[in-house]
């Protein structure tokens, strides 16, 4: 693995495509191409630099020589993690995850609390016929702002007549962010635990609520023999097939922000838009940088859990400013990380951020 990495790095032709694609390079002291260059020569790299990467994946997707710069970052981070040279908050998040299986360190026993407050009964996945699992993300399970998302989606799927179950307190972090922070060992542990549980209950299908979890299950768990989707794909299907009908209008101008892990990294651009287009009265707007060129919200790659040192105009602010300028009333997205990063500047500018399910529950 290491060996492969170094030949890959040596193959870099210093074309700059990665830097031109990177949402961090240029506006922060970070420069992804330069890090690859330094790596070619095994030159010293300032220890704070690798932490800027948001793991948006743009560099890796576009590199003409397949150097996978974002993986180079993970490798650099691993070395730093090993030496304990990392932001304190991140260290804390890793420790929390090791213990409670979530970066916040909230009690694992409370992971399924969101479902308790629901007006519908959701079975444990083992009690379902379909063995279809609704998998929540750590943010959605614990963060008060995002806890509505799983309840919303559960209601929507239920309304669409879909059978599904949950794991409750047996669910644990998917490891997507942990791997990107550079803690390969912990990631492996998490994966093993999740795999074992799914195997135990014979899970056949995972509907991920967060694009990050979906990405991990789809691409990083090896072949599970389990169909993995993001919930927006399921809902879009339901609307198309007529099992779920939009009943009320939503008279607002809505601008859609593509999450990196849903959009560029996994090619799901249409499903969320299809849902929005199906809603009467809703005017769908687009950012200049949308779909493959969507601007990263800077929530990924561990950036959710700590603050970088430099001050600069955050991408979330850039996003919010554009939305306001374009006259949008709501920024819609389909990822809890994006909701969290966009919400602050949005509140400041008086514009609402809504996860797709939050619009949907209002209209079905």
């Amino acid at each position: 693995m290491l060996e492969q990495m170094s030949t890959r790095v040596l193959a870099c032709m210093q074309c700059g495509k990665c830097t031109g694609s990177c949402p961090e390079s240029g506006k922060t002291p970070f420069n992804i191409r330069m890090l690859v260059r330094k790596k070619q020569f095994a030159a010293a790299i300032a220890e704070e630099l690798p932490w800027y990467c948001t793991s948006c994946g743009a560099c890796t997707l576009r590199c003409p020589r397949d150097v996978k710069p974002s993986e180079v970052i993970i490798e650099l981070r691993s070395a730093l993690v090993e030496d304990g040279l990392m932001p304190l908050a991140l260290q804390k998040a890793l420790e929390n995850t090791a213990v409670q299986k979530n970066p916040w360190g909230k009690s694992r026993g409370k992971r399924g609390v969101w479902a308790d407050k629901l007006d519908i009964e959701i079975p444990h996945v083992s009690d379902t016929e379909s063995k279809r699992l609704l998998f929540t993300c750590c943010i959605q399970a614990y963060d008060p702002r995002c806890m509505v998302i799983p309840s919303n989606v559960a209601r929507i799927l239920n309304k669409g007549g879909l059978e599904f179950g949950i794991l409750g307190e047996e669910e644990g972090c998917c490891g997507n962010e942990i791997r990107r922070i550079g803690e390969a060992g912990l990631n492996e542990e998490l994966q093993e635990e999740n795999k074992a549980i799914m195997e135990e209950y014979g899970v056949k299908e995972i509907i991920a609520l967060s694009p990050h979890c979906m990405n991990a299950f789809k691409k990083e768990y090896g072949d599970l023999g389990i169909k993995v989707t993001h919930y927006t794909e399921i809902v879009a299907d339901m609307i198309r097939e007529g099992t779920l009908t939009v009943q009320a209008p939503f008279e607002k101008k809505v601008i859609y922000h593509d999450p990196c892990f849903l959009g560029k990294q996994n090619g799901i651009f249409e499903a969320p838009r299809e849902i929005l287009r199906a809603i009467d009265g809703l005017t769908l707007m687009e950012f200049a940088r949308s779909r493959e060129t969507s601007l990263c919200c800077e929530g990924g790659g561990g950036r959710m859990f700590f603050e970088v040192e430099t001050t600069y105009e955050r991408n979330a602010e850039v996003r919010v400013n554009e939305a306001v300028e374009k006259g949008a009333e709501v920024i819609a997205t389909a990822c809890p990380f994006c909701v969290m990063t966009l919400e602050d500047p949005a509140t400041e500018k008086g514009i609402t951020v809504k996860e797709l399910s939050e619009i949907l529950v209002e209209v079905i």
Binding site: M13, Q14, C15, G16, K17, C18, T19, G20, S21, C22, S25, G26, K27, N31, R33, M34, A58, R62, P64, R65, D66, A288, R289, R291, E292, T293
Partner: protein, 924 residues
Amino acid sequence: MKNVLVVGGGIGGITAALEIASCGVDVTMLEEGPSIGGRMIQLDKTFPTLDCSTCTLSPKMVEVALQKKINLLSWAKPVAIRKNGKGFTVTILKKSRYVDINKCNACGSCSPGCPVVMKSEFNMGTGPRKAIYIPFPQAIPNKASIDKRTDRPCKAACVDACPIHTNVLGYLKHISEGRFEDAYMLIRETNPFPSSCGRVCYAPCEGVCNRGQLDSPLAIRDLKRSAVDRFDLDTLEPPQVQKTERKVAIIGAGPAGLSCAHDLAMEGHDVTVFETLPEPGGMLRYAIPEYRLPKAELDKEIGYIRRMGVKIECGIEIGKNMDAATLKNDYEAIFVGTGAPQGIRLGVEGEDLSGIMDGLKFLRTVNKGESLERESLSSHSEREGVAQPALLVEGATRAPLIGNKVAVIGGGNTAVDCARTAKRLGSEEVTLIYRRTRQEMPAADEEVEALIHEGVKIEFLATPVRFNGSNGKVSTAECIRMELGEPDASGRRRPIEIKGSEFSVPVDTVITALGQATETDFLNPLGVKLRKNGTVEVDPFTCTTSVEGIFAGGDVTTGPAYVVDAIAAGKKAACFIIKFLKGEALVAESIDAKPEKLSEDEVKALSIWVAKADRIPMPEEEINQRVTNFREVALGYSAGEAMTEARRCLAGQIEGCIQCGECERRCEVRAVDYNMKDEIIDLDVDSIVLAPGFDLYDPTEKREYGYGTLEGVITGIEFERICSVTGPTGGDILLKGETPKRFFFIQCVGSRDRLSGARYCSRVCCMYTAKHASIVKDRIRDAEIYISYIDVRAYGKNYEEFYKSTQENGILYMRGIPGEVVQGKNGLLVRVEDMLSGEMREVEVDLVILATGVRPRKGTEELCNIMSIERDEYGFIKANSVAPSKTNVDGIFVCGMGSGPKDVPDTVASGGEAASRCMEYINQ
């Protein structure tokens, strides 16, 4: 005799073919497209010398055409091959060009008329071409081709039903794509009265429209009007034609006479039209009411004929103010188009009472505005893009012309026009009295419909038997009921009076509209033979009368008919008068084709892939709005409605030529042949040289660069066309009609890139980008130009120097290729790291040009498969490393881009090499 096959007519193939032919060997050259020249002929200039590409290549292409040893087959490619001794037998597919290459003289008359607009391959889609086209002026062979892909799924019965064979499908095609002006001009080709016909034509085309067999016929007439509505005829300059000084007189300024005059004037003849009434137009002016045909529209059409130099002398009645014999002496030919202006009497008691008038006279009076007082006519309701119809003749009112209780006798269009006019003049009760039933009414259905809507009562199965009056003025019409008996000569059931069913209708005005007769006595002195009913006897195919030099057409020969029939007769007469003046024999050429129906199977097949869509109704003035005035009832389609309606035409459902016949009609040497068939030819050859050339990477999949989604992102080869004098802008670098000032060139798009499957360097992009930048700098001195690169490959002599001079010219080379191109506020934003300074930049520009990489030409795989030729991992033809023109098959050689990226000098060198190895092989 030895024979070599060269496949591909680019610079590689041309070089090889000329070399081999110069050794005295026969060459058959196959070019898949319409012309040789390959990619190089698409280039504006060539690096590193910046010589004009066409100037360099064109002489060589001409040499190919002149070289007797080279047999050039265009639209041809090999489809099978067999080893034959040392040589090969090749099966060649020669696609039909639907134009006879031996007849076509590249005059170019055909293309402008073609209604099918497609993307020009030569211009890489940056400009249009027609379905019939010559790809570029220097094409070899310089012959037109028709891009006919399928047979038209419609019989185009419309065209055959139209007396003047209007190119209906052609103008519908134009309208369906929003080209209203082109549609108008196409209609004008055969019709000098598009506006009049677009309003009042009885549209025999619609009756037979094949789409009617599926759902409903096209609104052919209303669509004609939609084109008229969007074109101002007053702005059209008549064509300059050579005057002949040959004098022709035309009697009668109706549609027949004026159409005849129009076509004669087109030929340069000196035409004078004599008209009895104060203004020209005939029934168009004096019978058809304003609310159906605004006179201002008619004036424009006649005005144009006047502007063509036709003299129209009104107020002259031949036989009264001027005698026919003088006319015969003063003019070389005469056309009689006096129509059928006489009313027919009912022949009942009391018909001469005051208050009873003839329908034609009534309409004429109203249209002339005689004894009518002015009434304010508010302006027509505004609709987008619709020309404002003119107001009526001076005023309109009932007194003293017409009373309050009006009876109109008759069931034809004239009767309906009279009744609707009477209603508009304010008569409270208007009753139409007709002998038969609604079914037998000769008036157009929609007219009768409108009549009923507007509140006119109809007494069917009734006829007046006597009019009673007091003080000499009519007061009642005594009528009798009828019933229908056996069919009469006209096929309609004969009405029979029912004894004792008399009833009386109180009236103060009676208008009779029973039919029309001709007035032809004035022709007697000339000895023109008349029929018993007073019509002029003519040969229907040539419009000749019994007297040489005298022609006739329209209602005067047929009795009352329709406008478009009159136009057709006038045009036909013009055609034969032209022949007559030339002293040619007057024999009719073609017998008109009959409108054909689709077979049941065809209808079934069509209904599978053509979605049902009903005709869009013509928007009309509201009923209560219309009966108070003479404003036009039909409001005209909006542009969108017209386009949607026109898209229903079955002919327009196919790609490419719709076989409308326009090019065939225009081609003087009759080179067009729609029935030409593809040919399969077997050919024995001793050796083969493959020069299939290359295609370019399609950057659409690199979504981050926005090609195909962002305006202003184009490829290098497209830019080449935009710069070229033979390109769509004649060499002006334009973006949306304006000169762009800020340019960003991105190199290596789809080269050196695992993602696009081409890990190789395309070898020409660095230099062609430098060339493009130099061209921009040369044409737009103040342009801001960036070139982003990974490294510049300027190998060998003259190239590095060219690179340097490009830099010195003020072009900014930036190391680092952009991550993304996105839409900014005032242009495109290119996000790029300027690596040599380590700075990230967002450069705002107008145009982004992607230097897309080279790919094997589409079809190379097929070509190699039939010949068992090996290709490399990228699909290029695999060449021997020490004899680079040798393939794995003995006797088959390769040159040019077909075996991998090469620039022009290298291609020429490889062509030479292939030629010499080929010569070596065949001489062994």
